[in-house]
Subunit: 597 residues, 2 copies
């Protein structure tokens, strides 16, 4: 006699990679294609290879506002025979002994083979009203002219089938005068919820009966829309076997892909797996990961295209599991159906944990987090408590950390892999910022100001020595690059003392431009403490550190054993120095000069 309460799952638990591969094997390729107007193609996937049917430019065009000339005519004074304005009627070939005014993009007239920009000419009006133009420079043939096809040759391949049409690609297609395009048909995706406890958004849940708001359907519908597919919200299915069977069969008939949430666990009313086994082929029913173990995937033969079976994803009922498993399993399938090439969907990047993360000893976990660019690396902040029912853990998530199954805790700073679902977050000191200006400076040194408007104030530099091993920097060396400087020198053999000095020197009011911390920063235990202190004090400028390290390496490969910290605290540049090359010192000085008022 059978017992009424279902027990252990009969499905074998597959790895995420196996499940992803099984889905991938069932998606045979993009759906059919359709022709749309360019303005309607934003976000779609191109279903044709696009080449240039005509050269760009199609005629020799001026790059400048100026005068079309014969390059064989020497610099001299000429009369203007006509104006060649963009889009204007042609005045015919350039008359010998004349020049012609021409605007950017205009047709360069026959006879002319160069354009002289207006800044290289002097104009004067003659008494008879005619304009004389003095051409100050000689030109080479072709100067300031875009030759036919020099931007894009006729027949050049520009975009390939499968390319996502963002604004920039539409711009390219418009330049090719493509007013209509072939794109892939968008998949039709049906979304259903199962569960008698669900109440429609906006309704009044009866908590005594364990009712809750159905948030999975709005979530899944929005995820489908974000991918560009056409969503059909099919509402809720009651937990009743024949009802589930009829509703799923109906959804599969009209959609390319069906997503349900709930009904895939081992509860007595979980019918999804049973029905799918009857309707089609069930590929997997358990996935070894958190959150989303009971994820289910099936295919069903129906509809006009026998090659491409309908895809069915039975996602778990917990909203967070829905979010994660949609990203892992469903999104790649939808992307492929809508025309994306078979390549990976997400960048899988290295991120540094901003806080410790506990591992699960049984299943790998896809930990929700926010990844931001920070001082040269990607740092991920967990969204907190990761229980699969806690929907707050998906708020403002942009990545899934791949936390391996193991005992113990990954410490802050551990580097793990993360699937980047959307773009990185910028660091607070991103563009536009002062930091941006400072870091560019060493590559683009500025000339010393030639104007004598106001006496520039003296640069202020501090030397902080913490052991006797560091190199020497003299006032004379600094003066070479900065002119007269105000120089302070101190010893600080202890970390606390050092912190105090650095904090006081780097206050805005102190006006300190540069602090050089002299010492041998290698692999010693004490060095670590100093380096950690410095890193905690500054907003790091990794490019500066990199530059100094490279300059050091030119002197000796042993420089590789040195750690360099460089960064800003308020307006003060703070740099550790073991042995400073003259060119390094010069670059640092350029950097502080660029920042001075």
């Amino acid at each position: 006699m059978a017992t009424p309460y279902p027990g252990k799952s009969p499905f074998s638990m597959l790895s995420v990679e196996e499940c992803v591969s099984m889905v991938s094997a069932q998606v045979l390729g993009p759906l059919g294609r359709e022709e749309v107007a360019l303005a309607d193609a934003l976000g779609r996937r191109l279903a044709e290879d696009v080449t240039a049917s005509a050269p760009i430019p199609a005629f020799p065009a001026s790059i400048m506002d100026g005068f079309a000339v014969r390059s064989s005519d020497p610099p001299n004074t000429y009369l203007v025979d006509a104006d060649s304005l963009a889009g204007g009627q042609s005045a015919g070939p350039l008359r010998p002994g004349y020049v012609r005014y021409i605007t950017t993009g205009s047709f360069v007239p026959e006879g002319a083979d160069a354009v002289v920009k207006v800044e290289d000419t002097v104009q004067s009006a003659r008494s008879d009203g005619q304009v004389e133009v003095q051409i100050l420079v000689s030109s080479k043939p072709g100067a300031n002219i875009r030759a036919v096809g020099s931007d894009t040759a006729k027949g050049e391949a520009l975009l390939s089938a499968g390319c996502q049409l963002r604004a920039s690609e539409l711009g390219v297609l418009a330049a090719l005068n493509r007013s209509r395009l072939w794109v892939h048909r968008e998949p039709r995706v049906a979304v259903l919820s199962t569960g008698d406890e669900l109440v429609e958004l906006g309704g009044q849940p009866d908590e005594g009966r364990g009712q809750i708001i159905d948030c999975n359907r709005p979530l899944l519908c929005a995820m489908v829309k974000e991918l560009g597919a056409i969503v059909s919200d099919r509402g809720q299915v009651p937990d009743e076997l024949e009802h589930v069977r009829a509703t799923l069969a109906d959804a599969l008939e009209s959609a390319d892909l069906v997503i349900t949430s709930g009904g895939v666990s081992r509860g007595s009313k979980d019918y999804i797996k049973e029905v799918l086994g009857d309707l089609g082929e069930l590929h997997f029913g358990e996935m070894c990961m958190k959150p989303g173990k009971p994820s289910t995937f099936a295919t069903v033969k129906t509809g006009p295209d026998p090659a491409q079976k309908k895809l069915f994803f039975g996602l778990p009922g917990n909203p967070v599991s829905c979010f994660v498993t949609f990203n892992l399993l469903v999104a790649p399938a939808i992307q492929r159906l809508r025309g994306s090439p078979g390549s990976p969907v997400y960048p899988r990047v290295d991120v540094e944990l901003a806080s410790p993360v506990q591992m699960d000893p049984v299943r790998p976990e896809y930990h929700r987090a926010r990844a931001r660019w920070q001082s040269g690396r990607i740092v991920a902040e967990s969204t907190g408590f990761q229980r699969s029912s806690r929907i707050a853990s998906i708020a403002e998530t942009n990545c899934l950390l791949e936390i391996p199954k193991a005992h113990g805790t990954l410490t802050k700073g551990t580097v793990v892999k993360a699937l980047l679902l959307t773009g990185l977050l910028p660091e607070p000191e991103g563009f536009p910022s002062i930091a941006a200006r400072s870091v560019q400076a060493p590559l683009a040194p500025q000339a010393p100001s030639a104007s004598g408007d106001a006496a520039p104030r003296r640069a202020k530099v501090a030397l902080l020595r913490w052991d006797s091993a560091g190199g020497e920097v003299t006032r004379e060396q600094l003066a070479t690059f900065l002119g007269p400087v105000e120089l302070i020198e101190k010893q600080a053999p202890e970390v606390l003392e050092m912190r105090e000095l650095l904090e006081s020197w780097s206050q805005e009011s102190s006006g300190m431009d540069l602090i050089l911390v002299l010492g041998n920063f290698g692999l010693g235990a004490k060095d670590e403490n100093i380096l950690a202190l410095l890193r905690s004090l500054v907003r790091e400028a990794p490019n500066v550190a990199d530059l100094l390290l490279r300059q050091g390496l030119e002197q000796s490969p042993l420089a590789m054993l040195q750690c360099v910290v460089a960064g800003y605290r308020n307006s003060t540049l703070l740099v550790t120095i073991s042995s400073l090359t003259s060119s390094s010192l010069g670059d640092l000085c350029k950097l502080i000069r660029a920042d001075r008022p």
Copy 2:
């Protein structure tokens, strides 16, 4: 007497940072707000702070399918008093001496204080038809129960005003039963083109008159749409002063922000700057950068809100300049108007150049490129020839490289800053992939298979020695980790010889699991050649290299001077080894064991 052809620009050339700051200073904040249905809020910016008005869960809910019990009752056999199904009618308090069947998410009945999952029970049917459940484990109070508010407490702050509403945030809001939301009004953006040479998309340009297709308008309209704003395509304005004046005044009346392209250079028909000077306040007219020098920004007082002036961007006529300056100047302004907080718009990341880039000695350049994640770093591939008329240079661009102004060329591998306009591209070996599995393996070692189903095949390992300095690896050591192994050993002192051996060993048919290249890989010139060869052969696994390097460092700080290459060629793991610690060898062996059939 005035000369008819305009000369040098009267505007002072400002830096990009100055221009960006000037725009930012004129955007006072988000536009007003409006209430929309949750389903219509995708992509919008939230205009309210959202807290939880009720706790989640609102009732004590089961985490498992199983049996609600009293934790004080010892493991024993019990009768089931009722079923507690999600959404079902409550059967009242749990009867003393009974257990109750309960499904995931259901209300835990009064009297019960723990849930035992179904796998920890044994059910049997009695002759009278009642079901007996043997509870195998004892429970602590609260076990497998989500307490009221344990996911989200009442009053907890979940989303802040300014937050971008992606699918996940809509899911969170739905869980809070928020069917309607306050979001910021989207800016209305008018887009116009100037230039008598322009022909509408789909038309027939007369090349003899220098006519071209107007691709800027479709480009700009699509860029505005991508940001979520409401675009109004206002067509072309003829190059006629009074016409330009009337059209701009009209556009400014009905839009929050106006964008034109063309008409801002020094051509005789360039009227935009002149008209803007009359209509409002012109903030800048030249920006020191490439491409997009004549970019113009003005504000005009009009419309009902006197605080927020209308914004006017006169972008250059070259399509590439439009694209770049829109991203730098216009996009941040639109984002701010639609409710984004004042933080930076783009992550400003470090990218490595995949090919040399020539610098411009006069102006910094925003070089279009494609940034992808590759072996632990971001690598950017230029889109080629960067002339501002070459629209092909924006095809599939996802970043702008900040190339400083300087003489010379930045070599391949140079690290520069890049503004990441959209997400990173994944590396080809991203998710899903075999590589993913391999890299996880060392962190989550698999137990040796206990089943005797089929005799596992022997592991195949090759040792390739290229100088006498490398360490020793013996068959016995390998056997400790792998059981009996098939071992090949060769010397290959020359690069070509080495290539041949490695290529043949790593063919799928050879079945080689692991190749250890033994030698001292430091800073010598010859080492470089070998390392370059190895890198070219494999799909690098940087985490494996990292692990080995860290294990080496535990032995000696000098390991830092060693270069480690690790990666896959087909199914063969290939690793360079100077001195191999036993734990390193163990980890490598786990790695290959995880991969074996």
